[in-house]
Amino acid sequence: MLLEYGHAVPINENNREKRVNLGLEELPETVQKYADGLEEVKTLLKSCAFEKLIEDIESGAREDKT
């Protein structure tokens, strides 16, 4: 989730609607609304080798199962 959306818990349809019904903007003032901000997060995750860490763990988990 973090790699794709910049949030551990991203917005969903139900809560987009809930926000509008409350009178809030459909998307909050976070990376979900700002594509350039999300790109920055993705750049940092790459710089920290977070994606590779996830891939290594997932491939390790797969090997454990075989």
């Binding site: 973090l2 910049g6 551990a8 809930k18 409350l22 809030l24 003032e29």
Partner: protein, 298 residues
């Protein structure tokens, strides 16, 4: 004192937007200078990311802090988990030059630099330290004649050496903010126990986390309160939605309304429940609002 930027995190805007609105309404009514913080991401969550990869945790949190530094504002959090990450990272980079240097090497790739010149606040400690219960009480338009179980949550008070909020076994600051609204903060056993969700327990051991929650809810129920008040959307979810999950898994029924402090404060400041995201289509919430209305009429 600097102005504030509101750090939303994940759960508040994406699952409990009523808490976001309640916070904004309360801050405006209290004349607190607080603006949005455009482009912030997940804090990232302390239980999972700090233990999983410290460099990523430090770097992403630092980017969020830089956004607020660029606005020359301190950050205001409304979540204990976000407070834990952002306050701890902010403390770390102010104290540890090598950590700051490492973080800035990553931030350089997006054209940003962390200076370490702002503070991170949590709304509960901010209201207590900067306003105090007496000043909060002076804003109250609707005395809340109810019995409340206060749930502090872990990250608001620990690590105690960094938080500086007094006694961590029997703290009173949150209770005082609740009683300022006319409510009674009811003591109950194991008050300082975890809600059951934190530290990645809900994600990795759901059944065990719900057992912890059930133990806490049983103590709260015995105290015969009208609602639970928390300062964290993760605790809010565990103590609130957890009641439905406990009913399903253990066939034990709890019907205790759960509110974030900003929602309770909003009620006391005169806002209607529906503006604060208190869903009265849920029976327990309707009973709670009826109780408040009855108290106003008598």
């Amino acid at each position: 004192m600097k102005g504030l930027s509101l750090f939303l995190g994940c759960l508040v805007p994406n699952r409990y937007p009523g808490i976001e609105l309640a916070t904004k309404l309360c801050l405006a009514k209290l004349d607190i200078d607080c603006t949005d913080l455009p482009g912030a991401s997940c804090c990232p969550a302390p239980g999972v990311f700090r233990s999983f990869d410290r460099t990523t945790w430090l770097t992403l949190a630092s980017r969020n802090i830089v956004l607020s530094e660029q606005m020359e504002r301190d950050m205001l959090t409304i979540c204990n988990g976000c407070f834990s990450t952002l306050a701890d990272v902010n403390h770390c980079i102010k104290e540890d030059e090598s950590a700051k240097k490492e973080v800035n090497e990553h931030l350089e790739k997006i054209g940003k630099e962390l200076k370490g010149n702002i503070d991170v606040r949590h709304i509960i400690e901010f209201l207590y330290e900067e306003y105090g219960p007496e000043k909060i009480a002076s804003y109250v338009e609707r005395q809340l004649d109810i019995r409340v179980a206060v749930h502090y949550g872990c990250h608001l008070i620990k690590p105690t050496k960094d938080r500086g909020l007094g006694n961590f076994e029997r703290p009173t600051f949150f209770d005082e903010l609740v009683t300022a609204l006319g409510a009674t903060s009811v003591e109950y056993p194991d008050k300082m126990a975890c809600c059951g969700a934190g530290g990645g327990v809900r994600s990795s051991m759901k059944d065990r986390s719900l057992k912890m929650t059930e133990a806490k809810l049983s103590r709260i129920k015995e105290a015969e309160v009208d609602c639970i008040v928390n300062s964290c959307p993760f605790c809010h979810m565990q103590l609130g939605d957890g009641q439905s999950e406990i009913k399903e898994q253990m066939e034990i029924e709890y019907e205790i309304p759960v509110l974030h402090y900003t929602q309770l404060l909003g009620l006391a400041l005169g806002f209607p429940g529906e503006m604060l995201g208190i869903d009265t289509e849920i029976e327990k919430n309707k009973k709670f609002m009826d109780l408040l209305d009855a108290g106003m009429e008598s």
